[in-house]
């Protein structure tokens, strides 16, 4: 009998019969394996259960570890743009800049680019106010934190910052008054559609639809804010690509956002890693404890085999095959349960499914088999030193 004929999984009786017909020498070995599992159902089941739980926990942890970082990155994109494209020296960006940016970043989904054009207009009493032309639909997606009472959707409607609104169009009854702005002698009548509150510079500005803004002022966008998704390296790569297609513009990462994100993400990843390691180790310990008990418990089988003249190699092979079979079955069942658990955690915590990663399966399988083998070999090594007669006498 050689190790190469050791079956890796439990066989059905039919297969066993088949095997027996073709290779009579392996039949005894396979039969012993199957009978050992069938006769001691309870102990075998508890060992398998421990294996499954450990494999499931390990799978869930590895899946989460990989996926959570991507999930958190998406959360971090709520902080808004991490790359800003600014025309050099107060110029405007070329008209096709936005299209170029989108063609560069378009390959990746969830990348947002929002153009902004700025002009300083005068109110009827001569005060200066910054007016911004933008694409409202995009700005709304990019800047989740903007608190907007109502987004403009009709012509000549403007989104007015809180502080600008307090000065420009005081509240008259339930509605705010329309107001007039002039830019280089051209006047425009605007109706405030909603209030914008951010706590930052936006509060003193007035936002207009980009085409209306351009008709009025003739000023083209000078800034494009980009929320580039991906790891820090991917964002860097995007910046380099953008610099190639837009040589006339300054492309800067928003350090405040990028570094804050990197900081929090690194700490979270490290914590997750430490926790996942602890959990996986604990589950391995659980398997070890159960399996050692299981094998140790069968020292009488071991002694009988030895007394009947089985070679050391055969005995080792037998217990190793048993452990390996347990490891494989436990890993497969545990893997699917673990994927389910990871998906559940993803749904509960991130409201998005965790994509099952089959690439972790080889690691789970190898780990399970290795732990199972260790827990089988350890007691065997202990028992080998004991005379079979002593074991059989029950001492």
């Amino acid at each position: 009998m050689t190790m190469s004929t050791v079956p890796g999984t439990l066989l059905t009786p039919r297969q066993v019969a088949d095997r027996r017909a073709h290779a009579p020498h392996t039949s005894m070995f396979a039969r012993m394996l199957v009978r050992a599992a069938v006769l001691r159902r309870r102990r075998a089941a508890s060992a398998l259960l421990a294996m499954i739980v450990a494999a499931a926990v390990a799978t869930a942890m590895m899946n989460l570890y990989v996926d959570v970082q991507a999930k958190l990155r998406t959360e971090f994109r709520n902080y808004g743009a991490n790359v800003v494209i600014v025309a050099k020296d107060g110029q405007s960006l070329p008209a096709d800049a936005l299209a170029k940016v989108e063609s560069v970043l378009g390959a990746k989904s969830k990348t947002l680019a929002v153009p902004f054009a700025y002009a300083v207009a005068r109110t009827h009493d001569g005060q200066s106010v910054v007016v911004v032309g933008t694409d409202f639909a995009r700005a709304r997606q990019l800047n989740h934190w903007w608190k907007v009472s109502h987004w403009p959707n009709a012509p000549n409607e403007a989104l007015v910052g809180m502080r600008a609104a307090a000065i420009l169009s005081p509240k008259v009854g339930p509605n705010r008054q329309p107001f007039e702005l002039t830019f280089q002698g051209k006047a425009i009548q605007l109706a405030p559609a909603g209030m914008l509150q951010t706590g930052a510079g936006e509060d003193s500005r007035i936002y207009l639809d980009q085409s209306e803004f351009q008709n009025w002022t003739g000023v083209a966008p000078s800034t494009i804010e980009v929320a580039a998704n991906g790891t820090a390296a991917e964002v860097e790569a995007s910046i380099r690509q953008l610099a190639q297609v837009l040589p006339a513009a300054d492309i800067r990462p928003v350090r405040q956002i990028m570094e804050g994100e990197a900081n929090v993400l690194n700490k979270t990843r490290a914590t997750l890693y430490a926790s996942a390691t602890l959990v996986v180790l604990t589950s391995a310990l659980c398997v070890l404890a159960t399996l050692i008990g299981w094998v140790f418990d069968r020292r009488r089988d071991f002694a009988i085999m030895k007394a009947l003249g089985a070679s050391e190699r055969l005995i080792n092979g037998f217990f190793a095959a048993e452990a390996a079979a347990l490891g494989v079955v436990g890993a497969i069942l545990g893997f699917f349960i673990g994927i389910g658990v990871a998906a559940w955690i993803g749904r509960v915590n991130f409201h998005a499914p965790v994509v099952p990663r089959f690439s972790v399966f080889p690691y789970i399988l190898a780990g399970s088999v290795a732990v199972a083998l260790i827990s089988a070999i350890l007691p065997i090594e202990l028992l080998r030193r004991v005379q079979p007669a002593i074991i059989l006498r029950g001492e």
């Binding site: 450990a54 700025y118 910054v130 502080r163 180790l281």
Partner: protein, 451 residues
């Protein structure tokens, strides 16, 4: 007799007891460490989130509009209202002053930069602020400034005499910690007349650290080049007192950025304090919501309006709750795994002793007496393993805290009885099934060794 049996069992079967004890110790250690990390992670991540910068801004109540495009302020410098610098230390006197990590006053001034009567002298914004200013409130000394509130600001400057320029900031003070090495290179002293020049402006002017620059008729030394990735790259950043001198308004500041640890918003936080009943108001006031901290800042700084910076304040709640939720779920998994490991070890340890049970029963011991012995042993194991595991877990948590967050993870003393209860409960639960089976086992078979 009973104590002797238990005692002898420990003495004679030291190896088996050791195995079970190790399993319990490890299980409890993992559980302790995970619970400690999970309960502290909110606070730790909250501090890390401060690296996004200030989440509150205080402005004068009656102010004119900011007219700022691309970092260039077009508003006349003396226009509008100011806050008083003398009110700033009072921020330390608010109810939630422990949650206020730092604050930075800002005073932008438009200045002419250039040599002598040079015609192409340009308008540049000079931003007066605190770098790492020592302040005193009551009997408490503290430092605050942009080094704490804006950790992404990096300064390249000279270290000591003739030393190579070193990028400071990365190794500088970490966000959320009011500690500092005084020798951080390039940062000007708050009481000096030295300035920082933004990197793009420095490139335009061809200046490097150590050079002098004529700003508004004064010769100022550039102590470092500032890189922020924002509007400050085109500006000059100076000590607040210098900006006030240039503007001719001592004690004036435009706005204050405040970086505070806050609680994620919930239904209570967004309510208007004016419409609350006194009871609800107290609860709202005594919770570190960004809204209630803003309210308290307004109370201490006269004629001010405090507003949350929504970009920072609104997002940190989501990130925080996601990470906390994740850690909670992982902690549950860890508890589950360690409970299982302890149960498995106990079950194995008891199953091995069926012969003993058989002997005891043959000698006339009742089921109750046998179970009592096993439970007493389990209790002893759980207590010893629990104490050892708790200490090991506390060490582990400390190690995790130190290596990941560079700060202590404190173990609440109240955790000890909880952990011990869990340890005893899990050990009992893990043993119960095995003990039941061991007791039910026919002594005849057990003694004949037919397991």
């Amino acid at each position: 007799m009973f104590p002797r049996i238990v005692y002898e069992s420990f003495r004679r079967q030291a190896r088996r007891k050791l195995l079970a004890g190790i399993a319990i110790t490890l299980g409890v250690a993992v559980a302790t460490a995970m619970i400690a990390v999970a309960t502290d992670i909110g606070d730790k991540i909250n501090r890390e989130l401060r690296s996004y910068g200030a989440n509150l801004v205080v402005t004068p109540q009656e102010d004119t509009l900011d007219v700022e495009v691309g970092g260039v302020n077009l508003k006349p410098p003396s226009d509008g209202a100011f806050l008083n610098e003398a009110d700033l230390p009072k921020i330390r006197g608010t109810f939630w002053h422990h949650n206020i990590v730092g604050f930075s006053p800002m005073l932008p001034v438009t200045v002419k930069v250039g040599e002598g009567n040079n015609k192409d002298a340009k308008d540049v914004t000079l931003l007066g602020t605190y770098f790492n200013k020592a302040l005193r409130f009551g009997k408490e000394d503290f430092t605050t400034g942009v080094k704490i509130t804006n950790p992404w600001w990096k300064v390249e400057g000279k270290c000591g005499d003739g030393a190579e320029p070193v990028l400071s900031g990365a190794e500088g003070p970490r966000p959320g910690r009011v500690e500092d090495s005084p020798a951080a290179c390039g940062w000007p002293n708050d009481n000096s007349q030295d300035i920082l020049v933004g990197e793009r402006l420095a490139a335009k002017l061809a200046k490097k650290p150590g050079d002098t620059l004529e700003v508004a008729g004064r010769q100022l030394t550039i102590s470092g080049i500032l890189s922020t990735g924002g509007a400050e790259d085109d500006q000059i950043v100076a000590p607040l007192a210098l900006a006030q001198q240039i503007l001719g308004k001592p004690g004036a500041i435009r706005r204050v950025y405040v970086s505070a640890l806050t609680k994620p918003p919930d239904a209570l936080s967004v309510r208007d304090p004016k419409t609350m009943t006194p009871e609800v108001y107290d609860r709202w006031y005594c919770s570190p919501y960004v809204e209630s901290i803003a309210y308290q800042l307004q109370e201490v700084i006269p004629h001010s309006h405090a507003e949350q910076i929504r970009q920072v304040a609104q997002n940190e709640g989501t990130v925080l709750s996601r990470i906390k939720g994740l850690m909670l779920l992982i902690t549950l998994a860890a508890l589950f795994a360690s409970a299982l490991a302890v149960s498995a070890a106990m079950a194995t340890a008891i199953y091995e002793r069926r012969v003993e049970v058989g002997l005891m029963k043959a000698l006339g011991a009742g089921n109750l007496a046998v179970s009592a012995i096993f439970f007493a042993e389990a209790l002893l194991l759980a207590l010893i393993g629990g104490i050892a595991g708790f200490s090991a877990g506390a060490l582990l948590a400390r190690q995790i805290g130190r290596s990941i967050f560079n700060s202590q993870i404190s173990i609440e003393p109240v955790l000890f009885p909880i952990i011990m209860t869990i340890a005893v409960f899990v050990t009992f639960a893990g043993s119960a099934a095995a003990i039941r089976r061991a007791v039910k086992f026919d002594p005849v078979f057990a003694l004949r060794g037919e397991g």
